[in-house]
């Protein structure tokens, strides 16, 4: 039951973008078109789940036993970079045209605060294995939900005459602010 509560809170209550402020760069950058937002969201969710697992492994099997906790940052960033490198090589072999298109997404993911943030948060909260995985997947889905909603809204705002200085990032931030307001409606949902 507690895992389910953690899952729902990762998606709705402590949404990764709207509560922890992680992954703002792609959130503002990629959310202009809906289908690219969906594919970005899914890609981030996948990479997050795998990072959650591997970062838990590194953290609980290498860093803590030998109490070199301070190596966390370096280890995680290296792991994430090589993980994305692996995925990129796999896709290049599998389908060259897809790799051409994907050329821009994968680096965007590596320099993405959400993935690194997830690894750090899970390590900081000393999550067990299953909690880390549930937290990773939940945050990924929360990120996707936020970025898809934002893409839908921005496509509709394309047709509206937003004041000149606010066009683009300004209005996206204000909409994100009001979305955060709407998400606070769910706080206090999980009852331990």
């Amino acid at each position: 039951m507690e895992l389910l509560a953690l899952f729902i809170s990762a998606i709705l209550i402590n949404n990764f973008v709207l509560y922890y402020f992680l992954g703002i760069c792609p959130f503002l950058g990629v959310s202009k078109k809906l289908d690219s937002a969906i594919s970005m969201g899914l890609a981030v969710t996948f990479v997050m789940t795998i990072t959650a697992v591997i970062s838990w492994m590194i953290n609980n099997w290498i860093l803590i036993p030998y109490n070199i906790g301070y190596l966390q940052t370096v280890a995680f960033i290296l792991v994430i970079a090589s993980l994305v490198q692996l995925v990129e090589m796999f896709i290049r072999k599998m389908s060259p045209p897809l790799y051409q298109a994907l050329g821009i997404y994968l680096p965007l993911i590596t320099t993405n605060c959400a993935i690194m943030g997830l690894a750090l948060l899970a390590a900081r909260k000393y999550y067990t294995f299953f909690e880390a995985v549930v937290f990773g997947t939940g945050s990924g889905i929360g990120f996707t939900l936020a970025i898809v909603l934002m893409a839908g809204i921005r496509e509709q705002l394309d047709l509206a005459d937003v004041p000149e200085p606010l066009k683009g990032a300004g209005i996206a931030l204000i909409v994100a602010g009001i979305m955060a307001l709407a998400f606070t409606g769910f706080s206090g949902m999980i009852k331990l």
Binding site: I24, C25, L28, T73, A81, L120, I171, A172, A176, G177
Partner: protein, 204 residues
């Protein structure tokens, strides 16, 4: 590249190419820790520390590292300096490090630093990239200062802890919440672009 004078290099970091307001980089920490001015300044200084040192090291070793491995080694260097900063904060300013939470190690993925190394430090001499790093980081600190002071004054009526607005002012708690951060930053960004377009018109 038209070679700019050293001072122009520094000044451009403050407004024309301000990492937060113009290039929209490193937004994650900007929004997250600016609910108190002290946190904002701490994060700004930490980033400055990391940016300066990594610019120094990167511009030193740029000839040695082959082109393909360039980015990976930068990441390792930046990560190393970030950890040093994190440990330093935890050791000597424990309450601030607790308040900043996971956002100090997150500097490693902050686009400002990686961006400057890639776009600038790996191409220019040590002195110039140091100045540029200084300019960029001061721009970053100023932006953080501006946003955190707006949020703290409106959110808690205090500045650096000192009561600024009188007792008549009922603090807007929303400014300390994520929603307030987004809205305040969005409006500030709009204001910056407005001023920019106004000065552009006058200059053109």
């Amino acid at each position: 590249m038209a070679t700019k004078t050293l001072s122009a290099e520094y000044v451009k970091g403050l407004w024309d190419e301000n990492p937060v307001f113009r290039q929209l980089l490193g937004l994650c920490p900007t929004l997250a820790v600016t609910n108190a001015v002290i946190n904002g300044i701490a994060m700004g200084l930490a980033t400055t520390f990391v940016l300066l040192l990594s610019s120094l090291v990167v511009s030193l070793i740029k000839k040695v590292i082959p082109n393909q491995v360039r980015i990976a080694s930068y990441i390792v260097i930046i990560a190393c300096f970030v950890t040093v900063a994190d440990l330093f904060l935890q050791a000597f300013f424990y309450p601030i490090s607790k308040a900043l939470g996971p956002y100090v190690p997150l500097i490693v993925v902050n686009c400002v630093i990686l961006g400057r190394q890639e776009a600038f430090s790996s191409k220019n001499s040590v002195g110039r990239s140091m100045i540029d790093a200084l300019g960029m980081s001061t721009g970053f600190v100023l932006a953080l200062l501006l946003l955190s002071s707006v949020r703290e004054i409106l959110g808690a009526g205090t500045f650096l802890g000192i009561q600024v607005l009188g007792s008549w002012f009922k603090p807007w708690i929303i400014m300390l919440l994520p929603a307030g951060a987004f809205i305040a930053f969005g409006l500030l960004l709009g204001l910056a672009l407005l001023i920019e377009s106004k000065t552009q018109k006058r200059r053109a």
